[in-house]
Amino acid sequence: MKKNIITGFILFLIAIVNPVSGQENINFSIDLINGGEVDFSTLHQEGPVLVNFWALWCKPCRTEMKYLKKIYEKYSGKGLKILGINQDTPRSLSKVKSFVNSYGIEYLIGLDPNKKYFEMFNGQVVPYSLLYNKDGEIVYQHSGYLPGDEIELEKEIKKVLGEE
C-alpha cells in the first residue's frame, strides 16, 4: 500500500515538473465516416478547429450537435472547421452513418470504435469539446453539455475567429 502511494506521488511529481500542455500539438490521422481520412495538423493549419467527441446513445451529445450544426453553417465560411469523433462501439456503430447523413451534418465525422482517439485526448466523459486555434493551441475545452453551454461556445468561436 505504502509503496503504491509513493509510486503515485513520484508520478505526480514527474507530471508537475514537466510542462503540462494538455492536449496541444497532438498529431493524428482519422478515418472519416463518408470515406477518406483527415490529418489533424493539416486541419488546424487551415483555420481554428473544434474537436467534439460524441456518441449516438448520449442525449446531451445529440442536443449539442444540433447547435454545432448551426454554428458550422454560420462560421465555416469564416474558416471554422469541426471534427466530430464518434464514440459508438460496434454495438451501434452501424447506425452512425445513417444518423449523420439524415441529420444533415456537414462537418467532418471520424470514427473511434475502440476509443483510441478519446484515450489520446485523455477524455473522461462525452460530450467533450476542445477548440484549437491555428497554432494548434487549445483556447477552450469543455466536458459535458448543459442547456446554455452553446452560448459560451459560440462566444469562444467568435473570439478565435477574431470577431469579438
Binding site: G22, P90, K95, S98, E119, M120, G148, E150, I151
Partner: protein, 534 residues
C-alpha cells in the same frame, strides 16, 4: 510477454530525465467519493467508496508516448479493491506504424473475434497486457497482438480468469466500394472453479467484408469459435452479424442482423455460468438492440446471450423539415431452438425449429421485442422538445415447468424532454418519463407504473442544480421503498475542473453495456465527483 511495472517505470524515468524539456504532459483525474447506505432487498448496510483514477500521458519527441494509470479503488463503488499502477504502456505512432507495449485495448472487425474494452461503470475490463502492432501499407492494414489478460467476471468477481492471447488481422481496401478483412485469435485460458481449474484452448477465426453500392452499404461478418477443454469437451460454435444501410437525402435506414451460436446448450448447461465453452471475454459482438438514453428505457433491458441468440433491428432516421427529426427503432430477438424436458430422465432433448435463422415470437424461445418512436422538435432557436413512445416485451421461458411458470414482463414508456435557454445567464430542462409495467412474477400486483422527473437549472454555464424524483406504484418493490429523491449541484471551477455533489436516494437497477449487465444496488447518501483534465 508481460512487462514488469518496474521496467516501465525505470525506462520512463530515464527518458523523462534526458528529454525533460521536450516532454508534453496530459493528465486527467477522476475523484469519486460516496458515503451512505446501500441496500440489497430488505438488507441495508453502511457503504463508503473512495476512488481516484489518474491517467497520465507523457508525449516524448519522435512520436513516442508513455502512459500510466494510477488507480486508488479502496473500496470502489463496483468491482474489486485495487491500489497502484493499473495501466502502463509505451507507444510509438506515426502515419504507417503503430506499436504499443504494455496495456492496450483493440478491436478487429466488429468484435466477433476480438474486442478488448473497459467499462468502469460495470467493472468490466478485458484489456490485454503485451504487445500490439499495426502497419498500414497503402490500402492494406495488418495488425498483430500478443499478451496476457487477467479478467474478473463481472457477475462473479471471485472468478478471475487468465488468458494468453495471440491474434492478427488483415484488412484490404480493394477500391472505394469494397473492403474485406480476416482475423484470427488463439487463446490459452484458465477458468477457476471451486476446487478445480478448467484449462482450455480456443481458436477464433473471422472473415468480413464491406460493400458500398449507390445509396446502399452492406457489412457482413462471420466468425467461428472452437474451444477445447482439457479432460473435457470440445465445442465448435459460430456467429454471423450483418448490417445493411440505406441513405438518401434526409432518410437513413439501418437493418442489423445477428445469428449467434457460439455455444448453444440445453437449459442445464446454459445456466451454468462457469462452463468454459461459452463465449470468451475477448469476444464482444454487436448486440443488435437499441442503446437507450432515457432512464426508464435503459433499465431492466434484455441481456443478450451471445451463445444462443438470433435477431434483427431496424432503425430509421428522418429529418422532417429542418426543425423536426424522427427516429423509429424496432428489434426482435429470441433463442434458436427449444429443448423438451424429460422429467423421468431429468434431461433435455433438442427440438430444432424450422427457420431458426430468424427470431420467433413464440414464448418457447424466450423472445424479446421492443419499438420506439421519437420526435425531436425545435420550437425556436432556444427551445426544443423531445417526445417518444416505446413498448417492449420480454419472456424468460421456464424450460422445466413450461409457459405458465415463465417470467413475462411488458411495459409501455412515454418519455418527454423540454429544454430552453432563456438568456446568457439561465437555461433549464425538464425530463419526465412514465412507464406502465405488467410483470407476472409480481404476483400480488402485476400492473404498476414508474415515474421519473428531472429538473435541471443551469446558471451562466457555470453552476447547475438538478432535482431528480422517481416514484413507483409497486407496493412490492424489492427495495421496500416507493420513491427516491436526489438533489445534485455541479460547479465548473474552470475549463479543466468540474465538481459535483449529490445527496439523496438512488433507486439502482440493472445496467447493461456491450451485452454485459450488472445490477446496481440502491444507494442513499452523499456523493462527490471531481473531474480534472489538464
Amino acid at each position: 510477454m508481460k512487462f514488469s511495472r518496474k521496467t516501465f517505470f525505470i525506462a520512463f524515468l530515464f527518458l523523462s530525465g534526458s528529454v525533460s524539456a521536450q516532454i508534453q504532459t496530459s493528465i486527467s483525474n477522476t475523484l469519486r467519493y460516496g458515503n451512505g447506505k446501500r441496500s440489497l432487498g430488505n438488507t441495508t448496510s453502511d457503504f463508503i467508496y473512495r476512488e481516484n483514477l489518474t491517467d497520465a500521458i507523457f508525449r516524448l519527441p519522435k512520436n513516442i508516448s508513455v502512459g500510466f494509470r494510477f488507480l486508488y479503488d479502496n473500496p470502489p463503488e463496483i468491482g474489486q479493491e485495487f491500489t497502484g499502477i493499473s495501466r502502463r504502456y509505451i507507444e510509438y505512432n506515426n502515419d504507417d506504424l503503430y506499436l504499443r507495449a504494455g496495456n492496450f485495448s483493440e478491436l478487429y472487425g466488429k468484435g466477433m473475434a476480438n474486442n478488448l474494452f473497459e467499462n468502469r461503470g460495470l467493472a468490466y475490463d478485458s484489456w490485454l497486457d503485451g504487445v500490439n502492432v499495426k502497419y498500414k501499407f497503402d490500402d492494406l492494414i495488418i495488425s498483430a497482438l500478443g499478451g496476457v489478460m487477467n479478467f474478473a467476471d463481472s457477475i462473479n468477481f471471485w472468478r478471475e480468469e487468465n488468458y494468453t492471447l495471440f491474434g492478427g488481422n488483415a484488412e484490404y481496401k480493394f477500391n472505394k466500394y469494397f473492403t474485406a478483412g480476416i482475423s484470427f485469435v488463439s487463446a490459452e485460458g484458465e477458468i477457476p472453479l471451486p476446487g478445480t481449474i478448467h484449462k482450455l484452448n480456443a481458436e477464433v477465426p473471422e472473415i468480413y467484408f464491406n460493400l458500398i453500392t449507390g445509396d446502399f452499404e452492406l457489412f457482413v461478418d462471420w466468425s467461428q469459435k472452437w474451444t477445447s477443454v482439457e479432460n473435457g469437451s470440445s465445442v465448435k460454435g459460430s456467429g454471423i452479424y450483418a448490417a445493411l444501410n440505406f441513405n438518401k437525402g434526409a432518410l437513413g435506414v439501418t437493418l442489423d442482423y445477428k445469428n449467434y451460436k457460439f455455444d448453444e446448450q440445453d437449459p442445464f448447461a446454459r445456466y451454468d455460468f462457469t462452463r468454459p465453452t461459452r463465449i470468451l471475454p475477448f469476444q464482444n459482438p454487436p448486440i443488435v438492440m437499441k442503446e437507450h438514453s432515457y432512464l426508464l428505457l435503459s433499465r431492466s433491458i434484455h441481456q443478450v446471450d451471445f451463445n444462443d441468440e438470433v435477431g434483427f433491428q431496424l432503425e430509421i432516421f428522418y429529418l422532417l423539415k429542418d426543425d423536426t427529426f424522427l427516429t423509429l427503432n424496432g428489434s426482435l430477438t429470441s433463442r434458436h431452438n427449444f429443448y423438451n424436458y424429460n422429467s423421468a430422465e431429468f434431461s433435455f432433448e433438442k427440438e430444432n425449429r424450422d427457420g431458426n435463422f430468424l427470431p420467433s415470437t413464440n414464448d418457447k424461445y424466450s423472445p424479446f421485442w421492443e419499438y420506439l418512436i421519437e420526435a425531436e422538435h425545435s420550437l425556436d432557436d432556444y427551445t426544443s422538445l423531445n417526445i417518444g413512445f416505446a413498448q417492449r416485451s420480454k419472456v424468460i421461458y421456464n424450460d422445466i415447468s413450461g409457459s405458465a411458470a415463465s417470467h413475462k414482463i411488458s411495459s409501455t414508456v412515454i418519455p418527454l424532454l423540454i429544454q430552453r435557454t432563456f438568456n446568457n445567464a439561465y437555461a433549464a430542462s425538464i425530463q419526465y418519463e412514465l412507464e406502465f409495467v405488467n410483470d407476472n412474477y409480481n404476483t400480488q400486483q402485476m400492473k404498476f407504473n414508474n415515474q421519473f422527473i428531472s429538473f435541471v437549472n443551469s446558471f451562466l454555464s457555470v453552476i447547475n442544480l438538478n432535482l431528480r424524483y422517481e416514484f413507483t406504484s409497486n407496493d412490492f418493490e424489492v427495495s421496500g421503498r416507493k420513491d427516491w429523491f436526489t438533489v445534485e449541484t455541479g460547479y465548473r471551477i474552470n475549463q479543466s475542473n468540474n465538481i459535483s455533489l449529490s445527496f439523496g436516494r438512488e433507486r439502482g437497477g440493472q445496467t447493461c453495456s456491450n451485452g454485459v449487465c450488472r445490477y446496481i444496488q440502491p444507494f442513499s447518501g452523499f456523493k462527490l465527483t471531481l473531474l480534472s483534465n489538464i
